[in-house]
């Protein structure tokens, strides 16, 4: 029986059941920000790993089909972006200026606060790409001498925070423009923000995908240039 715990189907089935339970609670709460399914599924799964004394490596390779889908899903974001090309072309200037401002703010504020806390260089390097999508952040963190796994966790946390706070924050700011709202959450909280934006509004989702994609380019370019300087 013990061999069962290292099979792919065991952890895939468990992950899907736990996620579906969390997602049901999220749907019942009308997608309340605090009920984000990843926020609840993750600690439950960590508890199950600890309980069964399963190594993370084993879990990660067993559930790799889920991580794998992230690649084609990111490629597929081209479709909603292409569908709104006319709108995007018309708004090229606000998009570019907001992207630059957002990318610089994300890097400087995250690294700056950690620097004030006296964090060592490898943690600063892991937090620098915090606004980009997970695979980009892990790549960039490695390039800068950071810890890719830590970068992934930081990026996910930024995603959860953005997905949870975007709607109340923009309502508080009285911003109703779904293009601006979507773009901002995509720049700050990557695919997570985009996933949330698609639940609220299709245009918000398309602009969030665009923000995520453009910020992956902007942040990795800015940080690579920075790495060349030092």
């Amino acid at each position: 029986m013990s061999g069962l715990l290292s099979t792919q189907i065991f952890w895939l089935a468990v992950t899907l059941v736990v996620f579906e339970a969390a997602d049901t609670i999220s749907r019942r709460s009308n997608r309340h920000p605090l009920a984000h399914p990843v926020l609840w599924a993750t600690p439950v799964l960590i508890g199950l790993l600890l309980l069964t004394e399963t190594r993370y490596d084993t879990y990660y390779s067993a559930t790799y089909p889920l991580s794998f889908l992230l690649g084609p899903a990111v490629v597929g974001l081209a479709v909603p972006i292409w569908a709104r090309r006319a709108l995007i072309r018309r708004l090229a200037l606000p998009i570019l200026l907001a992207l630059l401002a957002g990318a610089v703010t994300a890097i400087v504020s995250a690294v700056g606060i950690m620097w004030l806390f006296g964090a060592p260089a490898d943690i600063l390097a892991s937090v620098a790409p915090r606004a980009t999508t997970t695979p980009v952040a892990m790549d960039v963190a490695t390039q800068l001498g950071g810890v890719p796994a830590l970068a992934a966790v930081i990026v996910l946390f930024a995603g959860v925070i953005g997905a949870m706070t975007a709607t109340p924050l923009f309502n508080l700011m009285k911003i109703r423009d779904y293009r601006a709202r979507g773009f901002a959450v995509g720049v700050s909280s990557h695919g997570f923000g985009a996933a949330r934006a698609f639940q609220v509004d299709q245009t918000a989702g398309a602009f969030a995908s665009l923000g995520m994609a453009l910020n992956a380019v902007a942040t990795s370019t800015l940080l690579s240039l920075l790495a060349l300087l030092f």
């Binding site: 992950t15 597929g76 081209a78 695919g191 997570f192």
Partner: protein, 120 residues
């Protein structure tokens, strides 16, 4: 169906090849997304299956992050020393970035397209 999936995979593969050949700091999937935008611009036709497949994928993005999120289990050391600071830094940075981005977007929109601002 297979055609649409193949298109996504081939774009990602081409992105991966470009990433390795040029040393571009972008991952293959992001380059692949830009290539797919290029392909859609180049070969213009209706693509209902591609829309269905990519729509299904984007609707389920959240669960694809779960295996990486569970990686938290391995970061005990860094989190013990800097966990609180990280929570604070990432929370402040995420909120601040959203505020700055949304405000610059609105400001630039108002400045470049005053009529459009009114209808939004």
């Amino acid at each position: 169906m297979v055609g649409a999936i193949a298109l996504l995979f081939v774009c990602q593969l081409a992105g991966e090849i470009l990433h390795r050949l040029t040393g571009l700091p972008l991952p293959g999937a992001v380059i692949g997304m830009m290539l797919l935008v290029g392909w859609l611009a180049l070969v213009r036709r209706e693509r209902p299956t591609l829309e269905a497949v990519s729509g299904w994928l984007t609707a389920h993005l959240s669960i694809m992050f779960v295996p990486a999120a569970v990686g938290l289990i391995e970061e005990g050391e860094a989190l013990k020393d800097y966990g609180l600071a990280l929570v604070l830094a990432v929370t402040v940075s995420t909120l601040l970035t959203m505020v700055v981005t949304v405000l610059v977007f609105r400001l630039a929109l108002r400045w470049s397209k005053p009529d459009e601002e009114a209808e939004a």
